[in-house]
């Protein structure tokens, strides 16, 4: 083992040597510095490896040959080794990144950079508190010096503010140190710990000053303007080092010194961390400057980490795991993002759209953003999961709320940024010049995130059970992204089919229903993908990512696995949705609602674990800790995915603007994930007549109103896909309502609806999507008369709408019939009436859909369009066959469904006698009705066809037009604002109250952020005043508290 | 009113000034000055409303007479300006830029009398007739009877009676004829 003193020695030695050798050229000195850092990294790595393998014991290094307190000593323990490795590694990689910029600034800058790293190393390792002060000062001076060596007023101003602020902080620290020494007589941290300084009279003020200084180093909200300025103003590479190395070192210093302060400080540290986390993330949503926004994020993450180490006594062993996960994600992702920001060079967020011109940048950026928010498979996901689980398990709900709120805010601005990058206009922006020295560090950071993420999952007990095979498949598809679409599509279909084949025997029947919807539906939707040309870059990885998530939630045995699948699905579907034109704002709101819902689930899972130390998914069946709240949260979380009223505003845009074959994926298939979740939650709640009947009742109303709102809004849409999207909201409202009934019939209705909705909505979305591909517009009034050009599409839509409307004899009626029986059986008449009314309104939009697109007048520019692509037609007609089978033999579907549901709801089943269903209230014989209706239909049709066999075939303008003749199809086609009269009667119901509500919430948050951030006036003096006031206020709080 | 007419007279040299009523005056003005005059009246004298524009065929004088009638809503008075233009290749300066309804009047006059208004929007479109190819039908030298006979398959054996004479002879066959003879009956 090379003793860690060589870290210091190397840095100092090389630093002095460069003073002599700088005549040999800057390349040489730069290389020397890098070599030195590499050596330092090697030393810390060697130690870290030693500790990791367990062979190594912590080792004290004594300088000057004396024992403490007479001399300074260093400690190389496992934490020190880890943090030192982090600092040196980022120093090395960042050194490569900054090689050219340091070279421009001269050998002095190179030396200062080296000294900065050395200072941070010693901060980590030292056990002497005065030495800590010295090296903190050295690090500050180095950073300020590095900024000074840059040119430009902006960064200089930032540097000056930085040095002012750190001077004030160090003054506090120094006073604290001297008092500590006065009371204890030693500067050694170990001595200070053993001396019980906090018990000594007057010692608390020393501790207070020391702790305040260390906390202030972490830039707590709101005394952190100087830190933000540095993040914004300094070189990107330097910001990365500050964010990654300096902040990590400071964090460890805080951790180290907490031992002195004693346990009563834990609470205050957590509190300050929470305030910082929430506050800075809240202000982040107002940011338009990338680097400053990243600064806010960095500070927020540090706040979260502060909060975590404040909870170390409560979290116990898991503290390290949690802190590690969040820290490493932050460390790598933030460094990567800062480095990227140096390459992109755009100040504003919208300028980041240039990354689209370099697809791999987009991949990198997405990786970092998702890692920061805490998506799987990144370490932060597992860390956040464990954190929330443990905090809720110990009853710290308020803290969980703060954490989740802060994370939510962070997601707002990060995803908005990502959205700009993916969607904003980028024609006017030149592609950036690529320097390899700058790109390699970013790649290292990104790939490490994946590796460490996998490692983190394996570290935890339940995380190791996660099935990473689908994720691997995603990676393979990502690697093969350059291949033509045919190969990739075949590969994706084959992969999904094989996976389904291997998985399905292991599932119970309930899960199998949903797995079939997800996987078979997914395969059918993917078949349509053959219709596209080119490589369709980036589509397959994200589609498969979504399906991986979907199958993940089906297969999940533990809550973590469920949540893992849930988040994968969210991420995949987000990317799928955002691929559409004009889908950026909708993608963002989708993501935010999804994250909000996911956090609700997270909290609920945490609450479920309170009384039962188990990670099985079954625990949601027996929640005892605040069960109303837990189930409420669980249901609310799933309702975000089913887009129930209040949480639905993301859906119309997201589904309406998505690509043609993505809409069925996200509408017919993805929404069922929410239904599946609700099924699980409601099974957990148990049968109707228990303490949760109030919850179910509320859910019933939510479902009913959703059905009404969705259908009513659909009536007034001019965009075909938006119409279908609103229709999906309404249909999901039926399902939610039927589930809430919590009887056998109710659930049978819900499952029937789920299966039906999957089929007909997939048919409708696929067909309309295929038509849109042909005619090039979503707007229904721009189409018309397409029946003559697209008979196959027309038949598909016709079957789809008859099935959707629930008119006998097609399968939709099964749902309606069951629905009535369920409602009357349960006694929820009013809700039932509302849902029925919604069904009546459905006619309006269904007619509008088929009329304005397929009937009426054919538009001039569509005179030569071809029928829908065969690749769309294949899945559509497979699904139509499904609907037909269901219609002819409903008992083939309903009877098994009833059997599946019987264990959960044994009472009030449907009786089947020779294909005729009956309940206590009514009866229905699907097959016979079908045969009768089709028979009558056939007779009438035959009569009419024979009697008019010589009918003259007319063309489109051969109509009675009051003695005149039409001039243009556009003015002869009734398509725009068709239901004007109806609108006049019901317009008060179409006021988008929910959107207004969320707009108001957004506006309030923005206003708060905009108002609060005015404290960062940019004046260095004000920042110092903040520091002093922060200390005073904290003091008063602590005294008072 | 008189002052106005005086002012117009000095400015535009009116002729044949006739006071139809106290608040309505007719006057003839030269073809070159009429557009300037109505522009002046609209912008400075408050004649904001263009009442109508009409045409008469003075075949004896070989002239068309165009009449522009303007109304001043504040003063409640009307001024009608007559313009005599040549009957051969009749062309008149368009006033479409002053009032939009002038478009329609000019379109009508073009169709009925064949007077050209170069620059007037949509002046070439049909007004009441669709697909008219003959000479303008309101010209006095256009023989509508001849046109109808030529075009519309007249049925033979038609006799025409003067209603007054016919009915009198039918009802009171013994009374002597005292009434004036109707010129129009052939």
């Amino acid at each position: 083992m090379v003793t860690p003193i060589y870290i210091v020695a190397t840095a100092l030695g090389v630093g002095f040597a460069i003073g002599v050798l700088n005549k040999l050229g800057r390349n040489f000195t730069g290389g020397l510095v890098l070599t030195a850092i590499a050596f330092m990294t090697f030393i810390s790595f060697q130690w870290f490896a030693g500790f990791y393998s367990g062979n190594q014991l912590p080792e004290y290094i004594f300088t000057a040959g004396f024992q403490p307190p007479l001399s300074i000593n260093l400690l190389m323990g496992p934490f020190e080794a880890f943090f030192s490795l982090m600092v040196n590694a980022i120093g090395l990689v960042g050194g490569i990144y900054m090689f050219n910029s340091l070279k421009e600034r001269g050998s002095n800058a190179q030396v200062v950079y080296l000294i900065l790293l050395m200072g941070l190393n010693v901060m980590i390792m030292t056990r002497d508190i005065f030495n800590l002060f010295v090296f903190m000062e050295i690090a500050s001076i180095s950073i300020a010096g590095l900024i000074l060596l840059e040119s430009g007023t902006r960064s200089m101003g930032a540097g000056f503010k930085y040095i002012l602020a750190t001077s004030v902080i160090s003054s506090f620290l120094l006073i604290g140190v001297i008092f500590a020494y006065y009371f204890v007589g030693s500067l050694n941290i170990d001595d200070l710990i053993t001396s019980n300084l906090h018990l000594v009279k007057g010692g608390s003020i020393a501790i207070f000053l020391i702790m305040m200084a260390v906390i202030l180093e972490l830039k707590p909200f709101p005394a952190n303007g100087w830190g933000l300025d540095v993040y914004e103003g300094s070189d990107a590479g330097l910001s990365a080092v500050i964010s990654g190395a300096s902040a990590s070192a400071s964090l460890y210093v805080l951790y180290k010194l907490m031992a002195i302060a004693g346990p009563e400080w834990n609470y205050y540290i957590s509190l300050l961390g929470a305030i910082t986390f929430v506050g800075s993330n809240l202000l982040g949503i107002k940011q338009e400057n990338t680097r400053r926004m990243l600064g806010y994020s960095s500070i927020g993450q540090l706040g979260l980490l502060t909060l975590i180490i404040g909870f170390k006594d409560i979290l116990g062993e898991n503290t390290i795991y949690i802190a590690f996960g969040i820290l490493i994600s932050h460390y790598l992702a933030k460094a990567g993002l800062f480095w990227l920001s140096g390459i992109i060079k755009s100040k504003g967020l919208k300028g980041w759209s240039v990354v689209r011109k370099h697809p791999f940048f987009l991949f990198l950026m997405g990786t970092f953003v998702f890692a920061l928010i805490g998506f799987p498979p990144f370490p932060s996901f597992f860390a956040k999961w464990t954190l929330v689980m443990d905090l809720t398990a110990t009853g710290n709900i308020a803290w969980v709320v703060a954490i989740l709120f802060g994370s939510m805010m962070e997601a707002v601005y990060l995803f908005r940024w990502l959205g700009y990058a993916i969607k904003a206009e980028n024609d006017h922006i030149e592609p950036v010049k690529i320097e390899w020295s700058k790109i390699i560090p970013v790649w290292i950071a990104a790939l490490s995130l994946y590796g460490i993420g996998y490692y983190t999952a394996q570290l935890s007990e339940i995380g190791s059970g996660i099935n990473f095979i689908p994720f691997l498949f995603v990676a393979v598809l990502l690697a093969l992204d350059f291949l033509p679409i045919f190969i990739k599509n075949t590969l994706a279909i084959a992969g999904m089919a094989y996976y389904f084949y291997t998985v399905y025997p292991s599932l119970d029947n309930l899960r199998l229903i949903f797995e079939v919807i997800f996987m078979v539906g997914g395969i059918l939707a993917l078949i349509a993908g053959y219709a596209y040309k080119g490589t369709r870059s980036g589509f397959y990885p994200v589609a498969i990512l979504m399906y991986a998530g979907l199958t993940g939630i089906i297969e999940a045995n533990t809550t973590l696995e469920f949540f893992y699948g849930w988040e994968l699905m969210t991420a995949g579907s987000y990317f799928l949705i955002i691929r559409g034109k004009r889908s950026m704002p909708h993608g963002l709101s989708y993501m935010l609602f999804s994250i909000g819902g996911a956090y609700a689930l997270l909290a609920a899972f945490g609450m479920a674990q309170v009384s039962q130390i188990s990670s099985d998914l079954d625990i949601i069946n027996h929640i005892t800790y605040l069960p109303q709240w837990a189930y409420g949260l669980l249901i609310a979380g799933f309702l975000t995915k089913t887009a129930s009223v209040g949480l639905h505003i993301w859906l119309p845009g997201a589904h309406g603007e998505a690509e043609s074959d993505v809409s069925p994926m996200v509408s017919a298939i993805l929404l069922k994930a929410g239904v599946f979740g609700l099924v699980l939650a409601l099974i957990g709640m148990g049968a109707a007549d228990n303490q949760f009947s109030g919850l179910a009742y509320t859910l019933g109303w939510v479902g009913a109103i959703t059905a009404l709102v969705g259908n009513l809004m659909a009536v007034f849409q001019e965009d075909a896909k938006r119409l279908l999207a609103y229709s999906s909201i309404g249909q999901l409202g039926y399902i939610v309502f039927a589930l809430a009934i919590m009887t056998h019939l109710g659930w049978l209705t819900a499952f029937t609806y789920s299966i039906n909705h999957f089929m007909y909505k997939a048919i409708l979305f696929l067909t309309i999507g295929a038509v849109v591909l042909r005619v090039g517009t979503h707007d229904m009034y721009k189409m018309g008369g397409l029946i003559s050009r697209m008979p196959f599409a027309f038949i598909a839509v016709l079957i789809g709408i008859i099935a959707l409307s629930g008119v006998p004899p097609l399968s939709g009626f099964a749902g309606k019939w069951l629905f009535y029986n369920a409602v009357l059986d349960k006694g929820w008449y009013f809700q039932g009436i509302i849902v029925f009314f919604a069904g009546g309104i459905a006619f309006l939009y269904l007619w509008r859909l088929i009329h304005t697109i397929f009937l009426g007048q054919l538009k001039d520019n569509h005179r030569n369009v071809k029928d829908i692509s065969i690749w769309f037609a294949i899945p559509i007609y497979i699904l139509i066959m499904g609907i037909m089978v269901f219609s002819v033999k409903p008992e083939w579907v309903l009877q098994p469904l009833g059997e599946i549901l019987a264990p959960y709801f044994p009472n009030g089943q449907v009786n089947w006698v020779a294909g005729s269903a009956s309940t206590a209230l009514g009866y229905w014989s699907g097959t016979k009705v079908f045969i009768t209706v089709v028979g009558v239909f056939a007779i009438a049709f035959a009569f009419l066809a024979i009697s008019t066999r010589k009918a003259h075939k007319l063309k489109q303008f051969d109509i009675v037009f009051s003695g005149e003749r039409p001039d243009r199809p556009e003015t002869t086609h009734i398509a725009w604002n068709v239901f004007a009269g109806f609108y006049k009667a019901v317009w008060p119901a179409t006021i988008p109250l929910v959107e207004k509500f969320w707009d108001k919430v957004t506006e309030m948050l923005h206003d708060t952020a905009g108002f609060t951030r005015r404290i960062y006036s940019g004046n260095g003096q004000a920042y110092m005043l903040h520091l002093v006031l922060f200390v005073l206020v904290t003091y008063l709080v602590i005294i008072g508290g | 009113m008189k002052e106005l007419v005086e002012k117009l007279n000095t400015k535009y040299a009116l002729q044949d000034i006739i006071y139809q009523r106290d608040n309505m005056v007719f006057a003839t003005i030269s073809k070159e000055l009429v557009i300037e005059a109505i522009t002046y009246m609209r912008d400075y004298e408050g004649f904001a409303h263009f009442v109508m524009m009409s045409c008469a065929d003075w075949i004896e004088d070989n002239k068309f007479q165009l009449t522009y009638i303007l109304n001043n809503p504040q003063q409640r008075c009307d001024v009608a300006l007559r313009v005599m233009i040549e009957r051969e290749n009749p062309t008149m300066t368009s006033a479409h830029h002053l009032w939009k309804q002038v478009w329609t009047y000019q379109r009508e006059i073009r169709e009925a009398f064949g007077i050209q208004f170069p620059g007037s929007p949509r002046v070439e479109e049909n007004f009441v007739l669709e697909g008219w190819t003959d000479k303008p039908h309101m010209l006095r030298d256009f023989d509508t009877h001849e046109y109808a006979e030529k075009t519309y398959f007249p049925r033979g054996g038609r006799t025409t009676n003067d209603p007054a004479t016919y009915m009198r002879e039918k009802l009171y066959p013994n009374q002597p004829v005292t009434a004036k003879k109707n010129k129009n009956v052939e």
Partner: protein, 302 residues
Amino acid sequence: MNIYVKIAYTFLGLMIVLNWGMLMRVTFRKIGARMAGRHGVPFRQPWIDLIKNIAVRTTLTHGVMFYLGPVFRFSGAVGLFLFMPILFGKEAWMNFSFEGDLVLILYFQLFGMLGMALGAGEGGQPHSAIGISRGLAQHAAVELPMTMGIIALAIQYQTLSISEIVAAQQGGFLHWSFFTNPVASAAIMLSALGAFGYSPFNLVKAPNEIPIGPPTEYHGTYLGVLMTSGNILGVMETILFMNLVFGGATNWFELIIKSFLIYFYAVFVGMVFPRFRIEQSVAWFFKIPLLLGFIAILMYSF
């Protein structure tokens, strides 16, 4: 009962209903004419019109959907007949009502409407589309109070089977829902006005404004089929309300009297009141009938 005998009876029943529908309609035309002081059309007129329409020589077609409009409507009408018990207690006249209950009937009403909407749309005639959009909007409004009333009846009798509802009303006219559940009956009968499509709710087929709306392109045989379906539908609507509200019928005579009176009610209102605009009619159904339906259900919610 043998299935062939059954089919024969059903066919017979259909013929009776069709002819009764024609007779009933022409009777009301006569009554209307007499009110205006005219003689009005002869009683044979509907049959003659039907023959004439089928005898029209020129037939035109706009496409396949154009055929399907009348076919859908005819199937809807005949289906409604098939799934409705016509006479209570007579197995021969119960048709195929054991295949489906009230829910089937409610939704089957829409079958013909949907087909008509599609078939008329194929014609490309804007007036058809206007008429249909009005019709659908009005229908959505009619359905709400009517279904509330029907649900109230279903709750009252604890069944969705029409036969059982009729059975429960036997034994004197005081057992009719009209007397046992007047509020629900009022809701149903008020919204029934919309279902019959007479004034004030006949904007759908405003003859002079949008030349009779949806079927404006239909002629000849198509129109004949539509007329036939319309006559069947008219009777079936009355039979539905008769079964639900007025105790059903046990013999043809009773059926004829009751359906005549119910139809008379719709026609009477139509003769008296002028036409509503579509937003007015929607608003009207959302006022009084909806309130009645609400009360009807409220009575069973506690």
